[in-house]
Symmetry: C2
Subunit: 210 residues, 2 copies
């Protein structure tokens, strides 16, 4: 088994944090997306979608998509549970992880990919060129990030972690979102005290240095 990874990209870090919380070690293969290695012939054979992370199993099955890789490890080694124990827990964790992804992580991606010069002509992940940036989408995304911060601030005023009392994959997604969007100089607002308390709490976990 090996994990195709890139130390500087946000999605691979979500998987590394997940594995660190589980205490699982997997050999890593770096795919330098800053040097466009995800578009190389060798990597297209691993993932024609040209994105990292990808988990390659010993039978050569390749599992792409961050949460799909996490799902595999959750089923393989349920402890500690990061995606919920019983049906209700699993539903609630999935809800908060999806909110963190759809209203946080993906919106951060809209901002970063449509604002930063390094993504000029590469507005969509997995495509080497030919997709111009849409500045209006970066602006829409910045407004979306403010709504996201307010939403999780309200939630974190009621519960210690996003999905409730326990740390889960939803916290990983939201934490990496906040790290990711800093690249476009978007920060947690001063007014979101609950988010700031929670960020400090998460940052103290050893898994954040994975």
């Amino acid at each position: 088994m090996k994990l195709y990874d890139f130390k500087l990209a946000p999605n691979p870090k979500r998987v590394r944090m997940f594995l660190a919380e589980k205490g699982i070690e997997v050999p890593l293969v770096q795919v330098n997306t800053r040097e466009r290695e995800q578009f190389s012939d060798w990597f297209r054979k691993v993932n024609p979608g040209c994105t990292v992370p990808v988990l390659e199993l010993d039978d050569s099955t390749c599992i792409a998509e961050t949460v799909a890789i996490c799902r595999y490890f959750e089923a393989l080694q349920p402890e500690p549970p990061l995606m919920g124990r019983d049906a209700k827990d699993q539903g609630v964790v999935e809800m908060w992880n999806r909110r963190a992804e759809i209203e946080g992580f993906m919106v951060a991606g809209d901002v970063v990919r449509n604002a930063l010069p390094m993504f000029a002509d590469r507005g969509v992940p997995g495509l080497p060129s030919g997709v111009p940036q849409i500045p209006a989408l970066a602006e829409r995304g910045k407004a979306g990030m403010r709504r996201f911060f307010d939403k999780i601030d309200a939630r974190l005023g009621e519960t210690r972690f996003l999905a409730g009392d326990a740390f889960t994959i939803a916290d990983i997604t939201a934490y990496i979102t906040i790290e990711f969007v800093k690249r476009a100089e978007v920060e947690v607002p001063e007014a979101c005290g609950n988010v700031r308390r929670w960020v400090e709490d998460i940052a103290a976990r050893p898994s954040t240095s994975a």
Copy 2:
């Protein structure tokens, strides 16, 4: 238990198809999003995010987000499995469901919400107003849909269903994507014969009329 639903919206239909495949019946409560009922005071108490579907459990826990609701029922009643049996299956199903969502369903949403007059000033789900459409995003989305059709056409040339030999949630997501994007007059290209064969195959399942 009850499911807040709207018969004419694509996400609630994903859940209804999932339940029909499992043979599970849940009382439905209609929330007419064409008449903006998702923004009403009574529904904001169910889901402050103002989206359907939402599952309300008997202990009054509300689970929003389509796949989170499916996850709950998959854990509650694993047969027939629609999200994979063992760890590898679960990873592969999650990968294809996410590709169908991120590269299909969400891109279809970009097209529909940024092109159709009914969403003028409502370019983002869950917000009653103040988000102008971005025509360039609808155009980007149309190009994305062509790539999506080509991607699943290649896959469906190798396997009967998207995640392999068995029907799964990934097929539901992709099928509803194709129904959804027709609203913007985007159709499966003639050249995608495998997708057309698969659409006929899925359309013959009783769950599609759920």
